[in-house]
Amino acid sequence: MQAFERELLTLLPRLRRFARALARDATDADDLLQVALERALKARAQWAPGTRLDSWMMRIVRNCWIDEVRSRTRRARTFVPEEEGAAIGSEAHREVELRAELHAVEKAMNNLSDEQREVIALVLVEGLAYKEAAELLEIPIGTLTSRLTRGRQALAQMLEAA
């Protein structure tokens, strides 16, 4: 195994956490990571040894999420209200409520805009500095901080109301 694979292996747990914060649920997150790993292995020549593999890889995960998985997630999401609606008044409804409580964070994250969600994932979940996150997303730092601020206000409100 090359240093590249070896280092990626040690990054996998962290990348899963990042994918989890981006994607709709744990299954989508692992699908996302799989797609990203495929892309990374194909593009390995573009990684300059000695530079940070974690930022390089997080950028790929994020781009994959934008390109491929997110569109599928959107289709999936349109079915959710129907399921919940059909379950009203039944035991299943109670279960939906319980699950909703457990996953208040996930639900709140899912209600953010994609732009807000990715900055929250990078800065608040992965602990990147503003500068690192802005470079990774290729946006000015002012754009990053305003998305971060608005996303956070929305998250706090949703979680306090939950």
Partner: protein, 233 residues
């Protein structure tokens, strides 16, 4: 007045010293501002509590395999044959050759399974990866490096024996990585019986015996040790 953006930068540790002092001073005399700060800290903590465990879970095998399968397959080993004395003598001679190879690695530490840091020989590359991740109970039949026994040494470090085509040996996990305690020639060439894990190499087995405190780890203990990063006991 501290705006939301400044307040969040404060919570994220993004303000310089003067900025931090300013927010702290303002919060000291302003319970409402302190409450806003606490609210943001709580949000950070909530997110950390929710997503943190995702990094602790065991990574699904199919994802690991995508990286591990990129290992160049090593030719399948031949059936085990009994080893006459002259082969052990050859193995010892090969140890000397290995010594030369390690010496060369000292000068050009970029490649190969062994590097030197602070005067210690450390496993690197594919060997380090195998020591880090491979379970003796679940290794691919054509794995380039075979892990033999895993055990705790008297000083609490976790150690593992390994064998590959080039080299067999014993490594113990320290703060800087896998320190090679002893190495000898591997099973390349006519001696391709390295698939007999653990006790295949008598020199390695003897070294392991000398270092081992208690019993070797069983499969479950080996997995736990790996999942906790081979932390000292």
């Amino acid at each position: 007045m501290i705006d939301d953006e400044t307040l969040m930068a404060f919570v994220d540790g993004e303000l310089d010293e003067m900025g931090r002092a300013r927010v702290e001073r303002a919060a000291a005399g302003d319970p409402a501002l302190q409450a806003r700060i606490d609210r943001q800290r709580k949000l950070r903590a909530t997110l950390a509590a929710f997503y943190g465990p995702a990094a602790e879970e065991e990574v699904p095998e199919h994802l690991r395999a995508m990286l591990e399968s990129n290992v160049v397959a090593f030719p399948a080993a031949k059936p085990r044959t009994s080893r006459p004395l002259w082969q052990s003598v050859l193995a010892l001679a090969a140890t000397l050759v290995l010594g030369l190879a390690v010496g060369r690695t000292l000068l050009a530490p970029a490649a190969g399974p062994v590097g030197v840091e602070n005067g210690r020989m450390l496993a690197q590359g594919q060997l380090a990866a195998a020591l880090d991740t491979q379970l003796a109970s679940a290794q691919a039949p054509d794995a380039a490096t075979r892990i033999g026994t895993s055990f705790a040494a008297a000083d609490g470090r976790l150690c593992r024996t390994f064998e590959s085509a080039a080299m067999a040996g014993l490594a113990c996990r320290g703060d800087q990585g896998w320190q090679l305690m002893m190495t000898t020639a591997g099973s390349a060439g006519p001696r391709s019986d390295y698939r007999q894990a653990g006790s295949a190499n008598p020199l390695v087995a003897q070294a392991a015996q000398d270092l081992m405190a208690g019993e070797p780890l069983d499969a479950a203990a080996e997995r736990r040790a790996r999942d906790s990063g081979w932390r000292r006991r």
